[in-house]
């Protein structure tokens, strides 16, 4: 284990650690653009200069391996000067169109210039002109002038996706990133190139110009787009959610996430949400407050169960958290003795599909958690049984814990036509749907909260349980499945169901912030 001193701090690192990794471990700041922990070392931005005692020349930290007893600093004057000039070289041909650049606010150039820049540019010559607003397919827009040619995106398509769409063409200061004659960059991981782009050269078509990043808050969550459960940050403000970006978690997703997962924020926003409880049937709906409706429908179901629990069926999708499932089984299986519990599998054909990187065919976040609970409560039913029972008119009530993300349920309408044959339907879902509004059975729709609006635990494909905290509220009138089930069982909601973070309990923040009254 080599020991080294970094800016006066002495630390011990694993053999083979590069200086820049050692800096990160020591918690020291170091300027860099091209280095990315998950990509190969390019060593081209020349910003991570460090001075190593005993070596006359400055070295780059990303390509120098720590040797025993190395004394390294990046606080000395020669290093600072090198970084200042390095920043200037990066900026002399940069268009500085921050006002219209989407990256502004989270831009590597802005941040690092503020920290290390020269503040007194001497460039008086005309800037190099390159191509702007190049359409690179369905997800990415490229601006070559803003590009600092760090080659991160090129290395990403070479090393991670191995699709090789991107390249650096021409040479010298005429170099431009791009695809072969603007062929679309359309692999399923293309948004990652935007994330790793330290400047605004690659911007997302989906997010472009819709918000400025400083208006957004972020909440740590997981992607519910498939059973991998990539860790993400969801970006939101009072108008709704706007985008998701991957967060590093070496156990799950490394640094990346797929393009399909980037859509998970879309089903949380108001226009597609069921915003209040509804009861009635086709063309004749009464709007009701969700909680009241849950209580009402709960009473009906409990009454029906007393006259025969086998007339009630429960259909569950893999889209809810473990806590939700626990409450559901507790009420239906244990409380009411319902045996007809069915697992709605949205895409049985490619349930086990995997693209080799992250994306899985099972497009539910918690199939594993649901299956575990089905086993725990001894449910061994088959989907075909349900179809038979419906056709035989054996059921009077069907409760469906429907999908949060309707877009991954291609069989939604077929299944609804099937459920419609049961006289009473209880539909629990976050999204509004024309198909549900067209049901002719006596239907109760209860709005559910989405993954970003509730606490919960999800079990991914590998059995890893990931806890998610509530980030924001988009539909205040919606319930979590757990709350809805509580209300249906006749209990009242209490404060313990939405526990406050302990820090608020300990200190009244008014007192805390303002001092003694």
């Amino acid at each position: 284990m080599p020991k080294c001193t970094i800016n006066g701090k002495s630390i011990e690192v694993k053999p083979g650690t590069t200086i820049i990794q050692a800096f990160k471990e020591a918690g020291e700041e170091i300027a860099h653009y091209c280095w990315h922990p998950a990509l190969s070392v390019a060593g081209v931005c020349r910003l991570c200069m460090v001075q190593i005692e005993g070596q006359p020349k400055l070295q780059i930290a990303c390509n120098t391996v720590v040797a025993d007893n190395m004394v390294i600093t990046n606080k000395s004057e020669p290093v600072k000067d090198a970084v200042r000039w390095g920043m200037d070289f990066h900026l002399i041909n940069h268009p500085l169109d921050c006002p219209i650049c989407d990256q502004a606010g989270e831009c590597g150039l802005q941040e690092q210039y503020m920290r290390y820049g020269q503040y007194d540019p001497e460039m008086a010559e005309p800037k190099q002109k390159k191509h702007k607003v190049i359409d690179l397919g369905p997800t990415v827009v490229l601006d070559s002038e803003r590009c600092i040619l760090c080659s991160r995106c090129v290395r990403f398509t070479e090393e991670v996706t191995k699709t090789n769409e991107l390249g650096i063409f021409n040479r010298g200061d005429r170099s431009e990133i791009g695809t072969f004659h603007n062929k679309p960059l359309n692999n399923n991981y293309s948004y990652n190139t935007i994330d790793i782009c330290p400047v605004g050269a690659l911007t997302s078509k989906d997010f472009r110009f819709r918000q400025r990043v400083w208006y957004l808050k972020e909440a740590r969550s997981i992607c519910t787009g498939c059973s991998t459960g990539c860790n993400v940050n969801v970006y939101f403000n009072e108008e709704g959610t706007w985008r998701v970006k991957p967060v590093q978690n070496d156990k799950v997703n490394g640094y990346w996430m797929c393009d399909k997962g980037r859509d998970v924020y879309k089903f949380t926003n108001l226009p597609v949400r069921l915003t209040s409880g509804k009861t009635g049937s086709k063309d004749n709906w009464n709007l009701l407050e969700a909680g009241a409706l849950a209580k009402d429908v709960g009473a009906t179901i409990r009454a029906a169960a007393r006259s025969g629990a086998d007339k009630i069926a429960l259909v569950i999708t893999g889209q809810y958290s473990n806590e939700d499932y626990d409450a559901l089984f507790q009420f239906f299986s244990v409380g009411l003795g319902v045996q007809n519990i069915y697992h709605w599998i949205n895409n049985p054909e490619d349930m086990n599909g995997f693209d080799g990187l992250l994306f899985r065919g099972d497009r539910n976040p918690n199939t594993k958690g649901l299956v575990a609970r089905l086993e725990k409560y001894g449910v061994k039913t088959k989907w075909l049984d349900l179809e038979d029972k419906i056709k035989a008119h054996d059921l009077t009530h069907i409760v469906i814990a429907g999908p949060e993300n309707h877009s991954v349920f291609p069989d939604l309408e077929t299944k609804l036509r099937l459920f419609d044959q049961v006289p009473n339907v209880v539909w629990l879902s976050a999204g509004k749907s024309v198909a549900v509004d067209g049901l002719t059975a006596v239907t109760t729709q209860i709005p559910m909260k989405t993954f970003i609006e509730k606490d919960g635990t999800y079990t991914n494909y590998a059995g890893l349980e990931q806890k998610v905290k509530r980030g924001t509220t988009i539909v205040a009138g919606a319930l979590t499945l757990e709350e809805a089930v509580h209300l249906m069982s006749g209990e009242e909601l209490d404060m313990n169901m939405r526990p406050l973070p302990p820090k608020y309990l300990k200190t009244n923040f008014l007192v805390h912030k303002g001092g003694p009254l």
Binding site: T163, N164, G167, F169, N170, F180, H181
Partner: protein, 160 residues
């Protein structure tokens, strides 16, 4: 990009041979591009890159990177004769730049573009390694050394 490009049979066989000639398949890119340039009137078109990508089973972007990196590959059509006038230091000291201007004027062609009759493309290039016989130019593959403006014009006049 509507028309498709194809190498002649020998050309394709040559590229296949080059693929096995070197330890790494990528090494065949430069010889293959030379071949395409030879068969495609002196330049490499985008569709020929696509063709090579299929023929060599290499990504288009990698071939394009190589193509655009090296100066000897033309990515635009050139005249029948590609005249490259050295304008680097030793030639510049001996009138290379003036020679280039004179030739451009004489044949009424802009630097790097094709003359009206399609005969010439005249471009200024960096050192060609014939500094002892400056000024000099390269016409297609041949070095013409120790030029005067008159001599150069005479050489080019004779080219059809």
């Amino acid at each position: 990009m509507t028309s498709t490009f194809q190498l002649s049979e020998e050309g394709a066989a040559f590229v296949k041979r080059e693929l096995n000639r070197y330890e790494d398949r990528h090494s065949a890119i430069i010889p293959a591009l030379y071949r395409v340039q030879k068969e495609n009137n002196g330049w490499v078109s985008p569709e020929s890159v696509t063709y090579l990508s299929h023929l060599m089973d290499l990504p288009e972007s990698e071939i394009e990177e190589v193509l655009r990196f090296y100066t000897m590959f033309n990515t635009k059509p050139v005249g029948r004769h590609h005249v490259q006038v050295c304008c680097n230091i030793s030639c510049a000291m001996n009138g290379g730049r003036e020679l280039a201007d004179r030739l451009c004027q004489e044949f009424d062609v802009h630097d790097g573009e094709i003359s009206g009759d399609g005969r010439f493309t005249i471009s200024r290039v960096e050192c060609l390694g014939a500094c002892d016989k400056a000024p000099m130019m390269q016409v297609n593959d041949t070095f013409c050394e120790g030029l005067t403006e008159e001599k150069a014009i005479e050489i080019l006049r004779e080219m059809k």
